[in-house]
Amino acid sequence: MSGLDDLYKEIILDHYRNPRNRGELDSPPAHRTEGFNPLCGDEVTITFELSNDSVSELRIAGQGCSISQASASMMSAAVKGKSLEEVRELTRQFKSMMSIHGEEIGSEASDLTPKAVFELGDLEALRGVVKFPVRIKCATLSWNTLLTGLGELEE
């Protein structure tokens, strides 16, 4: 296994120490969605507002390790202002970066060609998490939670 430097990049620790878009929006009017990581007890609450099919405002609350907090913070910065379709695409890209089991049978990820490619920017720093499989769920918690929240809107 690789050293800790691959995991705890300086930019991750920065987001951990100074989380962006921290807090909760009043809900309603904001939408609200919660996620758990049953492995380690991490919890995240995302509140967000939409306008014109775009994420106009978003806040993150909850508790967790540096990886889950940093990933949530980076996500909040990355999705703000993006259209729902863009958010979904970015999530797909991020999760595919986080995937060790590309070869897993029946995995959907493998046979999808990305519709658009974003610059992952800061998020690239999380690439090292893949080498620590247990932590992947920490990194993807906020993303999955947001996806679930968006999915609920459609029902």
């Binding site: 296994m1 758990f36 049953p38 492995l39 380690c40 089991h101 897993e104 049978i105 029946g106 995995s107 620590f132 499989p133 247990v134 932590r135």
Partner: protein
Amino acid sequence: MSLPRNIKEQFPLLSQVVNNHQIVYLDSAASSQKPAAVIEAMNDYYRTINANVHRGAYEIAAQATEAMESARSRIAKFIGASSANEVVFTKNATESFNLVARSWGGQHLSQGDAVLITDMEHHANIVPWQILSAERGFEIRWIPLTVDGHLDLTELDQLLDGVKMVSLTAMSNVLGTLNPVRKIADKAHEMGALVTVDASQYVPHLPTDVQDLGADLMCFTGHKMCGPTGIGVLWGREEILDSMPPFLGGGEMILDVRKDGFTANELPHKFEAGTPPIAEIIGLGAAVNFLESLGMAEIRQHEIRLTEYAMNSLADRYGEDLRIHGPKNPSERGGVLSIEYRDVHPHDLSQVLDQRGICIRAGHHCAKPLMKELGVGATARASLYVYNDESDIDALIDALEPAGEMFAL
């Protein structure tokens, strides 16, 4: 291609000497022997990466989790599952059936409904339904047998009327009969019923593809397929498993627990409460590797050949004195030979064979309703697997005659 000639050497137990004879193991339908590779895989786990899974951030816990989950993926592939999430680990096939009955049945079955099973089921696919039926008042129906030990499907349409679940064995552990699962499944699906397959005797011996079988749920057990004790499998189509409520409650199967209730975890963990049988899952993964290295098609061919040899030799030698239950044609059955020989009671026969190191099983084989249909209290059952060869059959045949003399009435 056939199986390696020296395959017995890969099974440490087969070099044992019992009562001054090298052991002749003919009881694989009860439990198979284990290749060294399976035993070693578990030892490796205990010696190098033993740790509780899923919740540990440290290296060996991550490795244990990875070893367990990659075994799950291999097992999923081995049976043609479309995702590893469809493979739920239990302690044995029996628990798998109880899970299906309690969780699926508890949700779908009540007065006026029916579950259709067959006259050749193992108790594992009878009693869980009886327990539930006593609580909820649905009917249990039975597909009868023909005289040559096949399912009698002439009344299938009527039998299926009002049935919500058909639960049947793919291969009988007493008669060896291979059932037309796909045909019955297609009919069942047409009539709106689901199909659970008991593959405990099937997965170890034949190439298995859950899609080809037409199954919705399938139960099998590790110890009959070169794997360890303490491990069973429930496979189910993802949307069906997803719709079922949890069975056992506890750690691992939850996303959240509050004082006022809990939120269940995702598949497959939703059905895996508590610390899983980690070493046993890894052992079963190694067993699947072992079987794949032999080739399931080769294993099936080997067993057909050996069954044919056994049936012919027994008939040649004993004629009318000996009867084998179940289908006459080796390609319609597995290598399970329930023998009636003269007046010798199965228990006595087994005892006498044991003096020559020959292991066969005497009893009802957990299929008492079938025993009743056959009109016997017990049968003497010799059953074959990858490590058996003609010499084992010959030993069995030679030992019958003195037993017959001893117990002549």
